[in-house]
């Protein structure tokens, strides 16, 4: 036998792997490579000037800033929600637990128009914020709100299982040794869930950076102010600026791949951490 595959009496390996590779190549890898190959037709200075114009840089700043802020809020409140769902009992808990996944299941366009209607000046929430001088819809704050909604389940769902697995003996030992609840949380529980928390943060951040559907309705989409990078790609495409759209999408792809690598490392760290404790 070759060294590529260990011997097995089960049939179908060649068929299954062959089909998998063919399908992945046709659907994912070849189309993705098109973005890189088309960009390679540009010279380096051309590429650089496309991806560093002031309007593009403003869109990076907005996309990353809003995504970072939203992911931070999701870390804090995601941990809180996971904690409450794992540790406490309250009426309707099962329903709440199921609804946490709503942002995964709800089409982004629906989320976008719902949030816009809520936060517009005459909306349910917007009418209370407007007198305070806070405008959410059609400003960068609206983008932050939409990205918070989209990223909400990630932290909850990565932290929840880790929190469930923490052995009560550890906390009991801490209490026996004289730690109060806060000390037990910061010294025992928090270190155990920290890798999962970081994984959740990275997942929410990665999702937020590429998000399009929920953001464009609420953003207002003003160049330099409230225009996210994915929207800029669509705008360039609609102006038949294929080179510009492709160059920008390569920047986004490279960032996504780096984030994917970081997420894989975090998950590996998380698994290692949980097998040690």
């Amino acid at each position: 036998m070759n060294t590529f595959k260990q011997h097995s009496i089960l049939p179908g390996f060649n068929l299954a792997l062959g089909f998998t590779l063919l399908y992945l190549s046709l659907i994912v890898l070849i189309p993705l490579s098109a973005a890189f190959i088309r960009t390679a037709e540009l010279t380096w200075p051309e590429f650089w000037s496309i991806v560093t114009t002031p309007r593009v840089v403003a869109s990076y700043r907005l996309t990353f800033g809003a995504s970072f802020a939203a992911a931070c809020v999701n870390v804090v409140f995601g941990l809180l929600v996971a904690w409450v769902l794992v540790r406490y009992h309250f009426p309707g808990k099962k329903l709440v637990d199921a609804l946490v996944d709503l942002p995964f299941a709800l089409p982004t366009a629906v989320a976008g128009i719902a949030l816009t209607a809520l936060y517009a000046g005459n909306g349910w929430i917007g009418q209370f914020l407007e007198p305070l001088g806070i405008k959410v819809a059609f400003t960068p704050i609206g983008i932050f709100v939409a990205l918070t909604f989209i990223g909400l389940p990630f932290v909850v769902r990565t932290v929840q299982p880790v929190l469930e697995d923490i052995e009560s003996e550890l906390e009991e030992a801490a209490a026996t040794l004289g730690a109060n609840r806060w000390q037990t949380f910061t010294r025992v529980i928090f270190p155990a869930i920290f890798p999962a928390l970081m994984t959740g943060f990275a997942l929410a951040f990665a999702r937020a950076i590429g998000e399009y559907g929920s953001v464009i309705f609420i953003a207002g989409n003003m160049p330099m102010i409230s225009e996210i990078t994915p929207l800029l790609i669509v705008t360039k495409l609609e102006q038949y600026d294929y080179a510009g759209a492709t160059a920008l999408s390569v920047v986004m792809l490279v960032i996504s791949f780096i984030l994917l690598l970081i997420i894989n490392l975090l998950q590996w760290w998380s698994r290692r951490r949980s097998t040690i404790t």
Partner: protein
């Protein structure tokens, strides 16, 4: 036999406050639980956050949809353009989900039942579409099949249209939903191991017999779970589809795109009416998902008791 101390029960029981039958009073707080006021404020804060960010947006979809009355609502969802959008969305999902189902089973069979080099790389590649922005997912198909793309001139010569037509919408949808079923099946089939299939093969079953009679019954719930999530995303995808669709009313408009068009025309009641159908789909998806998770938990418990 020595009666265990109250402290013992105390430490053994998790998460519930213990009341002593004799006094009926709540027993002094456990060492591994927060004071009641902390618990209540944390629950309150979590629910307030979820209400603001989840429940109110969800309710508002249905409220806005029915704001102008049931008549307007039903007129909006029976409008010919809406009906054609619904039909297209169902068609696209009916193609994308089975394709990814076959892919998911094939990928999981290769990855979970065999040991080979480069397996982790393959798993990462399968997950790749999750980390690509929806807009980029659409754009790459324009680069391949669009008029300016690799195959564009050839397709135009043979009078075939993929971009700004239904095939492009299907392809973009397939791309964004590639990982759903595979990533559900891979860990499930890895956990189940290969003994049952090996026994079947040793007893003379053919490959397909082994798959249909041994593997398929074992993975059917995981398959259904993945298919439900895949379907929800396939029907709700916006960004990728928006780039390749061309937004031709009554022909290349899916439901989410129809919502966008209505909304941009300030026809809010109609936009929310169509959106409410998608929100309903999301709720049904969550209900089925919870049901399968509940069933799996019961199943595991009953297995544990055997």
């Amino acid at each position: 036999m020595v009666e265990p101390s109250p402290q013992y029960y105390y430490l053994r029981t998790t998460m519930s406050t213990i009341t002593f039958p004799a006094s009926g009073e709540t027993f002094r707080q456990r060492a591994t639980q927060e004071p009641a006021w902390v618990r209540r404020s944390l629950i309150g804060l979590a629910l307030a956050f979820l209400t603001l960010f989840l429940f109110i947006p969800l309710i508002s979809v249905f409220y806005e949809a029915f704001k102008k009355g049931a008549e307007v609502y039903f007129a909006a969802i029976t409008d010919p353009d809406a009906v054609s959008a619904i039909k297209l969305t169902l068609t696209v999902a009916a193609i994308a989900v089975p394709l990814n189902l076959v892919f998911g089973v094939a990928a999981a069979w290769a990855i979970a039942k065999f040991e080979f080099r480069g397996k982790n790389l393959l798993i990462t590649l399968i997950d790749l579409p999750f980390s690509v922005s929806p807009v980029v997912s659409g754009l790459i198909y324009v680069l391949v099949f669009g008029l300016q793309g690799w195959l564009g001139p050839w397709l135009a010569e043979h009078d075939m249209k993929i971009i700004f037509a239904v095939p492009g919408i299907v392809l973009a949808t397939v791309f964004v939903t590639v990982p759903f079923i595979a990533r559900e099946l891979i860990p499930l089939m890895q956990a189940q191991g290969t003994e049952e299939e090996e026994a079947a093969v040793v007893l003379g079953a053919s490959g397909w017999q082994t798959f249909y009679q041994i593997t398929l019954p074992n993975i059917k719930w995981g398959l259904l779970y993945g298919a439900i999530l895949c379907n929800a995303r396939a029907m709700g995808e916006f960004g990728a589809v928006s780039v390749v669709s061309g937004h031709i009313r009554g022909s290349t408009n899916t439901m989410p795109l129809h919502v966008e068009i209505l909304y941009n025309e300030y026809n809010f009641a109609a936009a929310f009416a169509v959106a409410s159908l998608l929100a309903l789909l999301a709720l049904v998806t969550l209900a089925l998902k919870t049901l399968i998770e509940f069933r799996n938990k019961q199943h595991q418990k009953s297995r544990g008791h055997e």
